[in-house]
Point group: none
Chain length 154, copies 2
DNA sequence: TCGAGAATCACCCGAAAGTAGGACGACGAA
DNA sequence: TTCGTCGTCCTACTTTCGGGTGATTCTCGA
């Protein structure tokens, strides 16, 4: 409900912005193509931003990938990896937390993880904190190590 | 690749759409405000769509199907690990630094490493700092990851 | 429609990690 | 001897992490 109001206000701001742009006599100074193009670009960017915030359940697509593990002998590091997702459920690790775990394992800082996942650094901290709890560790290197033991990471 | 083409086509459609709208404008059917508003609305919606699409593509949850695990018997990767010591020489990593690297990979803190190796925490920092230089990384998780790639760690 | 779980974000604080620079002694090669 | 490398240790500083608490929003299912 509050969100709708917020969007309403946002719409107002947009219209105002539009007015301002128009007031600048863009229409008269530049040909219509440029004006329209500018407006389009600005609002496409804005729409993308909105769209990323406006999340829906159906956005999550679960893709099942059959993976085969090479038989004994020359294992292929970097080859197909099968994550033991039952461990996730057993430990109560959420999808988002698992995502953060993988990003941690890539050596990213919390800030970088935030940028990658479109969330605030604080949120990353919250996720990783809970993740550490569930993994029973207290440092990120340990988390990665533990996750590898649990076959959550390659 | 196909995605790029798709986006290219999409861009073309956008331009065409713009042209059409513009045509309407030049016919002076609508005043500039309405024209701009229309463009804005259309492209906001389009942006939202794009944003959600983009986000979805980044939220794909890869769920691997359970697979057979190689015989429990000592598989090569789990067995005795042979570090590629030539990499050490190539990168100019000393024995001591390699030792610190292994301890880092165990998830120990600098203090714990110092206790384990009977050296001061500051010394550990010096070693790890030089180690990071030689590995071309800046964080310990990255160092472990990189070392694994270089087959310096299991 | 209510509540539980999730995801999000904020603020604070202390600890840990990392940066930059310098210093010193041991040892071996030039 | 002189030079370079290694290992050790230091100060001082900035950044990052991790813990704790509290709050809002959203979704889903009962």
């Amino acid at each position: 409900m509050r969100r709708i109001i917020a969007y309403g206000l946002l719409g107002g701001v947009l219209v105002a912005l539009l007015k301002v742009i128009e007031y600048e006599h863009f229409v008269h100074t530049y040909p219509g193509e440029i004006y329209g193009g500018l407006v389009a670009v600005v609002f496409v960017v804005l729409g993308i931003w909105l769209g990323q915030r406006w999340r829906r359940s159906h956005e999550v697509v679960v893709r099942e990938v059959p993976v085969e593990v090479p038989a004994a002998g020359a294992a292929a590091p970097g080859g197909p990896f099968a994550a033991d997702l039952s461990q996730l459920e057993r430990l109560g690790i959420t999808q988002r937390e698992y995502e953060i775990l993988r990003l941690i394992a890539e050596g990213l800082s919390n800030r970088e993880i935030g940028e990658r996942a479109f969330i605030a650094e604080n949120t990353v901290k919250t996720h990783s904190s809970r993740l550490f709890d569930k993994l029973g560790v207290s440092r990120r290197v340990q988390a990665v190590q533990r996750a590898r033991e649990l076959r959550l990471l390659p």
